[in-house]
Symmetry: C2
Subunit: 357 residues, 2 copies
DNA sequence: TCCGTCGTGGGAACCGGTTGCTACCGGCGT
DNA sequence: ACGCCGGTAGCAACCGGTTCCCACGACGGA
């Protein structure tokens, strides 16, 4: 009989006070918990609260100085597995630290990004986390620098998570992982197995994540004194469909290669089925490797060798580092390591001379 | 030289007013946009705004009646592909409709769910969307009913998205999709190919999504006058690892079956590699089907036949329906259809007599 | 020239909370 | 019996906005 009445108007602290026969301040104090209140008063207040099903308005609390802090993260598309893992890490750590979590998808549109950051600043978010690579142009650096400054001047903090750092001095926390290093190690492994012509299925040509991995690909070659054929690096985006399309195209074009390294496991997945469709066996006819180590990589056939990225950890660190940052302290820049996980998709390279795949 | 000074204290509307030499109300009005203000006044206000890099506090606006509405969604784990797609739909539609989006992961803990809903009520969220199946116990119905009521009495609205409906009369919007029907059609297809002993790799035994699919499995059998062996339905959870483990176990136990239907594509993926590891060929030795049609399903080898669920649409509808709901109107209950997409993973069944897989 | 009106801007109340300061109460010591 | 003190509760100011209502100045028409 606790009558949660259908009064469509939420009740205020004054309603509770009136019903309990005390003042609003007393209600506030009972609910606050620390201030000494007699048991009788507390009882009647609590009863009124229960009867009215009252919850204090979080926005009002926030404005008055109490209130749950909020943290925002902005990403391109939650649907990409690596984004999802970062988001998960962010969300977990945020709630562990007692923060609420606002999320926005930009769908890759820079204007949305700007709008969102502005909204988050209006929300007085404790930190705004920008997730995922992007085109690292002067325009990017300037725009982002401006965001960082205005966030900082509002007492908030910008975090770049898996995104290129700004010029020194920008009030920004950067958490990256080693795209180039991971790709270098991975490609070195492929090269060590005897492959000489390895196709690289990259991402968008200006995207930092893609670029980092591409640099690793190149570096691994050069470290062996090899000079990769420019025709062997292709660009698409980080989707399964792009991988599929690029691979078909490469095959149709008669490109010669004995192994393919995809910039992403998703891309690798698409490439793998294109290979299968062409009647090629992996790794017997051609080897394949990915990047990200999403859970599915194990279930591709053959199981995909790839490089593991601690995405969830990345997200967790992003929020922890951002929230621990004290205004005066130096800006942090973390670079997380990656490691390649060898599975079954890369086999030995061809014997003497390259093979026509 | 626009001096975005490092003054760590965000400026208030009064600061802007002072700098522009007008009153706070005037600033509010020029920022509001509608009220007539002379060009000169507007100019100086805007300049002050720019110089101070001022953004109005969204919480204060909200409390005063203006302000961006917010919408919250609560799910178990953003990392599951189907959750991610629903989340994406929710987020897109929410921002399209000018709402901010709060997200919480419960990690499957009911207490978290309660806490979150309470927080969202405090945030005065326009709607709270609970995403994903759960155990449909009397406790669930009562608890959720209570949430619905208290949300409703606060002028907000509870939405159940892919989650079992409550008893009639609860102020709730329900958007479901047809788990049972999809599974029925899928299993009917498997049966039609001549399979008679089909293993079902289900989810948690009390989970509504899992249960719905299991009912479909059963119903498809009965519709053919078949009586499935109870030993053929196994329970785990909706992860790749569960699928892998269950499949190994089934194989180790010497269960007889010629096809396996997994409650989820993730489960199917794990099962597939277990099958491969055991040296079994799909679909030659055993057929396999999944549920969800995640993008990866196409890249499994063989490509997985599965049932497509319009997850993103589900999320979009959830927010649209919730936000369009007017307090007096009847509660809506939508049931979205699914369809099976036939690919390569289920082949013809065995000849006379079951095969030992 | 005088008055009505329109265009503008300011004052103050209000949104729903929190909290510093003050006042009242009863109980205790001497 | 009186004064002091500690424990409680209320008043009012404040957080950062919005908006109702009113006043003031300039302008045009009679």
């Amino acid at each position: 009989m606790t009558r949660k009445s259908g009064d469509a108007s939420r009740s205020t602290i004054r309603d509770v006070a009136a019903r309990a026969g005390v003042s609003a301040s007393t209600v506030s104090r009972v609910l606050g918990g620390v201030y000494p209140v007699s048991a009788a008063t507390r009882g009647s207040v609590m009863r009124a609260v229960r009867e009215l099903d009252y919850v204090a308005d979080a926005r009002a609390k926030a404005i008055a100085g109490a209130g749950t802090p909020t943290l925002a993260f902005v990403l391109e598309d939650i649907t990409g597995p690596s984004f999802a893992y970062m988001a998960h890490g962010v969300e977990r750590e945020a709630t562990r630290l007692g923060h609420l979590c606002l999320v926005c998808s930009t769908e890759g549109d820079v204007r949305h990004e700007l709008e969102f950051v502005e909204m988050m600043r209006a929300q007085r978010a404790a930190a705004v986390i920008l997730v995922g690579g992007t085109a690292d142009t002067p325009a990017y650096r300037e725009r982002t620098r401006r965001m960082a400054d205005s966030l900082a001047s509002a007492g908030s903090r910008l975090v770049l998570c898996g995104r290129p750092p700004l010029d020194p001095g920008a009030p920004v926390t950067v958490i990256e992982y080693d795209n180039e290093g991971g790709a270098h190690t991975l490609v070195a492994h492929v090269l060590a197995r005897g492959h000489r012509r390895v196709l690289f299925l990259g991402g968008r040509a200006d995207h930092t994540t893609a670029l980092g991995r591409e640099r690793g690909y190149l570096a691994a070659h050069r470290a062996r004194g090899l000079d990769p054929d420019p025709a062997l690096v292709l660009h698409g985006d980080f989707t399964r469909d792009a991988g599929h399309r690029l691979m078909r195209q490469a095959l149709a074009d008669g490109l010669e290669f004995s192994a393919v390294v995809a910039a992403t496991d998703m891309v690798a997945a698409g490439a793998l089925t294109a290979l299968h469709e062409a009647g090629l066996k992996v790794p017997d006819d051609v080897s394949l490797a990915g990047y990200d180590d999403i859970p599915f990589a194990r279930d591709l056939h053959p199981a995909l060798t790839t490089v593991h990225v601690p995405y969830e950890e990345l997200g967790r660190l992003a929020v922890r580092t951002a929230l621990e940052h004290t205004p005066g302290a130096p800006d942090e820049h973390l670079l997380l390591g990656t490691h390649v996980v060898v599975r079954d998709s890369v086999g030995p390279g061809p014997g003497p001379g390259p093979v026509t795949a």
